[in-house]
């Protein structure tokens, strides 16, 4: 008797949005843990604020658009956006900053463009870009090193109940390096800076390098679970490190090494959690590679030669614009055809 069992290509595990999102949140946990341990528990407050705001904004827009509330609220996509926003904003930012950013992401960047699966721009990066353009001072106040604040103190600062003293805010390692180079006017070089200033750790920013390592771990987990393909993260890391390595080889006095750039700012968070966004990124394998590569190159150019502390958000938004074009030219040939379609 013939066996009419299900053909193997249909035996795949059915992957729902919800399951993917839960896995992405799980993959963010190592980074979050390192963040809490090394930088401070304030980030937990921000994560909670962002999550609540995202769910409220999502519910509001779903209600206005007359979409099923329970189905979309429980898919977790808003929570992932919220976490990415909280992780890219300064951990001691006032509460309203994260609320404004999250609402911009959910209401404007996600739902006004048609909701889940329709947004051409990565919502979290829209929030970051809009806020850093609008509130440059608040968005570049990062907690100074060695600042040991308890959970309650951090909560008070975020709630606006305690004064925001300038002493407790510093620059990110990337920003510190750029500013020091600009101010010194060539009299000081990068290796000296990296070795002497305490904001820099073993190979990147003190503390931040381990947070970035956490993201790397989470990203590798997502890759191992086949929830993301290697193309976009590999392209991004390749693009960023190639340009960094070229400039570093040419003038190591003026440009930091590729390792520093990979483990600073939002590079690894971007590589594994932002450029891998299945909605606003490319869909073809070759396209993902090109998308990541160009985003990495742009991120390096913007963060080193631009005015803002980091370039990942702007690079991703610019590349989001190019996605239809890249997808069009990177379609794999139809099976059986030798040439491009």
């Amino acid at each position: 008797m013939m066996d009419f069992s299900t053909p193997p290509y249909l035996l795949q595990e059915r992957i729902s949005v919800r399951r993917v999102m839960v896995q992405v949140l799980l993959a963010l946990l190592p980074g979050v843990a390192a963040y809490v341990w090394l930088i401070g528990p304030g980030i937990v407050v921000q994560l909670v604020i962002a999550t609540l705001t995202a769910l409220a904004g999502e519910a509001l827009m779903l209600g206005l658009r007359r979409k099923p509330l329970a189905l979309f609220l429980s898919d977790g996509s808003a929570i992932v956006t919220a976490w990415l926003i909280a992780l890219s904003f300064p951990p001691l930012a006032p509460w309203w900053l994260i609320v404004v950013g999250t609402l911009l992401a959910i209401v404007v960047a996600k739902h006004l463009y048609g909701g889940l699966g329709q947004n051409p721009f990565n919502p979290a990066m829209v929030a970051f870009a809009a806020c850093i353009v609008s509130f440059p001072a608040l968005m570049s106040q990062w907690p100074a090193l060695g600042l040991k604040l308890g959970f309650l103190e951090q909560l008070q600062i975020i709630a606006g109940l305690a004064p925001r003293i300038d002493v407790m805010s510093g620059a990110t390692p990337l920003d510190a390096l750029k500013t020091a180079l600009k101010l010194s006017d060539g009299s000081i070089d990068v290796p000296t800076l990296l070795a002497t200033q305490e904001v820099f750790g073993n190979f990147a920013g003190r503390g931040w390098e381990w947070v970035a390592g956490g993201y790397l771990l989470g990203g590798l987990y997502l890759w191992q679970r086949k929830l993301i393909s290697w193309h976009a993260p590999f392209g991004f890391i390749l693009g960023l490190s190639l340009l960094a390595a070229a400039l570093w080889a040419w003038n190591p006095q003026q440009f930091a090494n590729p390792l520093f750039h990979l483990f600073s700012g939002g590079a690894l968070l971007g590589a594994f959690f932002i450029v891998t966004d299945p909605v606003s990124g490319c869909t073809t394998p070759k396209g993902k590679l090109i998308f990541g590569l160009l985003a990495g190159l742009l991120a390096y150019i913007i963060r080193v030669f631009g005015g803002f502390p980091d370039g990942v958000a702007f690079a991703v938004l610019l590349m989001n614009l190019c996605v239809p074009l890249i997808d069009m030219y990177s379609q794999p040939p139809v099976f059986g055809l030798k040439d491009e379609p």
Binding site: A130, F135, P136
Partner: protein, 232 residues
């Protein structure tokens, strides 16, 4: 002369149905650059209204004398002469405002709204109708720029009517939001103007869609699909 129905149609087209900023999307350059405050937006609109009204009358009066082949250079000459007058008037009577608005007063010459109304309406209609068209197209521009300028000023800085002393000496702008409002800088920057204009257009479409849904039988005679088809 002009009958009531014609008057109503010209007014309706200018102020709402074919609003220069929200429907025709003409003159976006001054719209983006000047509407950082309510006062700036209103004053530039007023200058544009004067130019449009007089230019429309002048071209309508001369419309049978202007050779068809070279009508565009002639229109531009007429408009440029009027803009020079307005430019000098602003310089003389609102000098501070003149410094703020800067190049955007002379640039009214190149504003597509002015040329569009001259070409599409005044060139084909008698002077009285053209005068009304110029005024009401300008009024449509005025309320849009005022609304956009007010929104950008309020969101971007928490104030309203700032700089009003440049028009009425002694008058004070309003500080509507608390003094420690951090200011949403994006609203002041050009991208904010684009985003807010998008919201205004969405709002207008929503109002019209709701009106159309309420009166299903009159849905056929909506605003004409071609933005510049009136008067033709």
């Amino acid at each position: 002369m002009i009958d009531r129905e014609q008057f109503r149609q010209i007014m309706d087209n200018g102020v709402w149905h074919q609003n220069a900023s929200l429907i025709q999307l003409l003159g976006l350059c001054p719209l983006l650059a000047v509407t950082t405050t309510l006062v700036n937006g209103v004053m530039l609109s007023l200058a544009t209204i004067i130019v449009m009204a007089v230019a429309n009358v002048a071209v309508a009066a001369l419309r049978n004398l202007i050779p068809h082949e070279i009508r565009i250079p002639v229109f531009i000459l007429v408009v440029a002469a009027l803009v020079t007058v307005v430019d000098l008037l602003f310089n003389a009577y609102f000098h501070e405002l003149y410094l703020v608005l800067g190049i955007f007063i002379p640039l009214i010459v190149t504003n597509c709204i002015v040329l569009a109304r001259v070409e599409a309406f005044a060139n084909k209609n008698p002077p009285l109708q053209s005068l009304l068209d110029g005024i009401f197209m300008g009024v449509g521009l005025l309320w849009t720029l005022a609304l956009l300028g007010g929104l950008r000023e309020l969101i971007g800085g928490g104030t309203l009517f700032s700089g009003v002393d440049m028009v009425f000496p002694g008058a004070q702008g309003l500080q509507l939001l608390p003094a420690d409002y951090p200011g949403f800088l994006l609203a002041i920057l050009p991208p904010g103007a684009f985003i807010l204009l998008g919201f205004l257009i969405a709002w207008k479409n929503w109002v019209e869609a709701r009106a159309a849904a309420r009166k299903p039988d009159s849905g056929a005679d909506q605003a004409s699909p071609l933005p510049l088809a009136d008067g033709a």
